[in-house]
């Protein structure tokens, strides 16, 4: 087997996610490239949760519909996913909870109990049963357990050992030559990238699917202060306050929280305060489908904030890109003293990828002022960027939400003053556009480069779209930087295009609107708005109707 998928599922609280991660780590150690999709509902106990672990000989960025191994901790898992399994003999189920004629039943809860463990340790038992079934050495299992189960390791090992002895090997998974790589979610990757670029403070109010950025930074000892405040408004304003006082600050939320933060985008724009906002989308409007994915915040994010605003909006599509852009965007925010939005979605935030760092990021210093008493926060300059100084030393630093003069005092009376300051910001917006014009990775191009059929996509839709396009010799343009729009790069790539198709996860075709605004008309749209991500087969079927 070169590319296979394991589905492990149960009720929330049964530990299916952990089981999926441990299995992924075992396969990672055997040289497989991993993609884990985690599916759960908005509840704490009960319901139905599952993880789909895809393991492949080559790098993969999307899930497969078909399942090769089904590990069921409860009956619902078996009922729901039976139709997805390729071969019945590769089912392992919890015989304490389920009666089934198909697959192998093991009394995993009884075993867990008999070995002195709690019912949740049944997930250990099912990992071990799978490992034996596919011929994985117990020593490897043990190594991974030692790292993953710091508490109750002995009992977990006893359970694993017993189950390992009771199951038959049915197929042998080969060890590959690849070196194992870190297994990381998009949220964790962007946090690490930001740390590389000097992140010092992270403010947040809990909101799925951005919450794990806060958890990760709070648990790890990377030197980042993590601060939870009373609502998203205080989160963005306090982060702006911290940035004004000299600290590299970032916030994270989803659409609803982002809506509350929009006054902050306006404030950061006029006060020229650098701040990075992560918006991890889920399906909207309003609460929508809170634990599933979507790409329907695009229009809103691009237009967020009242007044004349250009900011950076950047949409990475996987962990590698999250790592790079998580750092790069913080540098850009400080270079241009501007708000910047990292736009991702649930599928990217919470799926687990192998991280491969192709280009590392590091902290790039902002333009700093050496002036003391004669400092002017908004000093006019050719490119609109005024050197930064922070309060606490000799310079008097006056930042403001009002239109202002160079010193930072309110400008209301003089039309001329108002125009001069607006034009200073316009020059800065132009410099930001130039920055994007010169970026090699503002877009990514995949598939058959000279194909007349061009698929436009962004964010988490990219993974499945690229796999399908490669199969059918189509060209894919993934927009990474969305604002300022990378017009030069895009126009060059569509010179010979005859058909332009947008593939995106929303109901209105918001990516196609962005293209239209920039003079590019899409001929066809492939949309999905069920809150579940694209399956390759779905894209394939719809493409066949178009091409």
């Amino acid at each position: 087997m070169k590319d296979f998928t394991i589905l492990v599922g149960g009720q929330a609280g049964q530990g299916s996610r952990k089981a999926g991660l441990v299995i992924a780590k075992i396969l990672n150690n055997l040289g497989y490239r991993i993609f884990i999709y985690d599916d759960y509902q908005s509840l704490i106990k009960g319901g139905h949760s599952f993880s789909k672990v895809r393991a492949s000989f080559k790098k993969v960025l999307s899930q497969e519909e078909e399942v090769n191994f089904l590990l069921a901790l409860d009956e619902e898992t078996l009922k729901r996913h039976l139709k997805e399994i390729k071969d019945d003999k590769f089912i392992i189920f919890n015989a304490d909870k389920i009666k089934s004629e198909k697959g192998i039943g093991i009394n995993i809860e009884t075993i867990a109990k008999e070995e002195g463990g709690s019912p949740i340790m049944a997930n250990t038992a099912i990992i071990s049963a799978f490992a034996k079934m596919v011929g994985i050495d117990f020593s490897l299992l043990k190594n991974v357990f030692e790292k993953e189960f710091k508490k109750g390791l002995d009992i977990n090992l006893k359970i694993a050992e017993r189950v390992y002895g009771e199951v038959e090997e049915k197929i042998k998974i080969e060890k590959l030559e690849n070196k194992p790589l870190p297994l990381i979610t998009g949220n964790e990757a962007l946090a690490l990238g930001a740390v590389k670029a000097g992140l010092e403070m992270y403010y947040a109010y809990p909101m799925t699917p951005a919450t794990s950025i806060l958890h990760f930074l709070a648990e790890r000892k990377l030197g980042v202060e993590t601060i939870q405040l009373e609502n998203e408004i205080s989160v963005i304003i306090a982060a702006i306050g911290s940035a004004y006082a000299g600290k590299r600050s970032m916030v994270g939320t989803s659409g609803g929280g982002f809506a509350l933060m929009t006054e902050g985008i306006s404030l950061a724009t006029i006060s020229e305060t650098p701040v990075v906002i992560v918006n991890s989308q889920r399906s909207g409007p309003a609460t929508g489908v809170p634990t599933y994915s979507g790409q329907s915040d695009l229009n809103f994010v691009l237009n967020a904030g009242h007044g004349d605003i250009v900011k950076f909006t950047i949409a990475p599509s996987n962990a590698d890109e999250c790592y790079y852009w998580g750092g790069k965007i913080l540098n850009l925010a400080f270079k241009y003293q501007t708000p910047a939005v990292l736009l991702i979605d649930k599928e990217i935030s919470e799926s687990t990828f192998n991280l491969e760092i192709k280009e590392d990021v590091s902290k790039e210093e902002a333009l700093l002022s050496g002036k003391g008493e004669d400092y002017k926060r908004y000093e006019f300059s050719e490119n609109g960027i005024s050197p930064l100084a922070f309060p606490g030393k000799e310079a008097i630093v006056k930042a403001t939400s009002y239109e202002h003069d160079e010193f930072g005092l309110t400008a209301e009376e003089s039309e001329e003053e108002i125009v001069l300051m607006q034009e200073k910001r316009l020059r800065k917006f132009e410099a930001m556009q130039e920055e994007v014009d010169n970026m090699e990775n503002a877009i990514n191009v995949y598939g058959k480069k000279d194909s007349k059929n061009v698929l436009f996509t962004f964010g988490s839709s990219t993974g499945p779209v690229v796999e399908v396009a490669e199969k059918f010799d189509l060209k894919v343009i993934q927009l990474v930087v969305l604002e300022p729009f990378p017009e030069l790069q895009v126009l060059e790539e569509i010179e010979n295009a005859e058909q332009i198709i947008c593939v995106e996860q929303n109901a209105l075709g918001q990516l196609s609107s962005l293209l239209a605004k920039n003079g590019i008309e899409a001929n066809e749209l492939i949309l999905k708005y069920s809150s579940r991500v694209f399956q390759k087969q779905e894209i394939e079927d719809l493409l066949k109707e178009i091409i």
Binding site: P182, E188, E225, L229, A395
Partner: protein, 271 residues
Amino acid sequence: MNKLDTNYKNTWCPFCGNFGILVAFKRAIENEDLNKIVLTSGIGCHAKIVDYLNLSSFYSLHGRSIPAAEGIKLANPELKVVAFTGDGDSLNEGISHLIHAAKRNTDITVILHNNRLFALTTGQFTAASEDNFKGRSTPMGAPESPINPLELMLASNATFIARSYSGNIKHLEETIKKAMDHKGFSIIEVIEPCVSFFNVTDFYNKNTYTIEENNLTEREEALKKIREWNYEGEGKIPLGVFYKIDKAPYFERVLIAKKEETVEEVLEDLI
């Protein structure tokens, strides 16, 4: 020109209570290290004060003086951060921030300019306006009673609570000094007349009195003093520090990040 002044033209109405606050504040900080002071303001008549003071400042949005101040303090705890705000600003738009900043014991000084109405928008009722207040949005009288902001602050676990009056500059100056010396969250409610829309200068001059500041750690006593005046058009109005206790400031408790691992080490750990 005083070194604390900017050359910015003052646009407050003649005899506005804010002049008293400006003068008292300038006197209160005379002996402070001015480089370490940062001001924030929301939006409203109170907020113009930052344009008149030649000090570092963040002129924030309506209701957001306090979260801006909190972010500045957390970024650099060496700074002395003073958040100017108004009743519309922090009892209406940004009341949640006021409550939580007090609850957290954020080490900032909040100067609440309480003129008991929205003035800059030409006289509508706020949470501090008296019951039945007749403004342009409520010509028949506001159908709401005022809240007592200091009672709210006591309930929110503020560690320094005081009231002063813009017409008693000496008292205000001394109270600002005490508040800025307090380690933790301090709030001074400064009652002030709005000469254009709610001119109660005579009433305040007649009814305010300073109290003996003793037993400052006694909650019940503080509550009694705080409740003496009910924010309606009658009664005596005590001025002074009502409550003061010692408690670890928020920044000491929340800024606990340790740099003990590198990104590379974390990545190694995730294999």
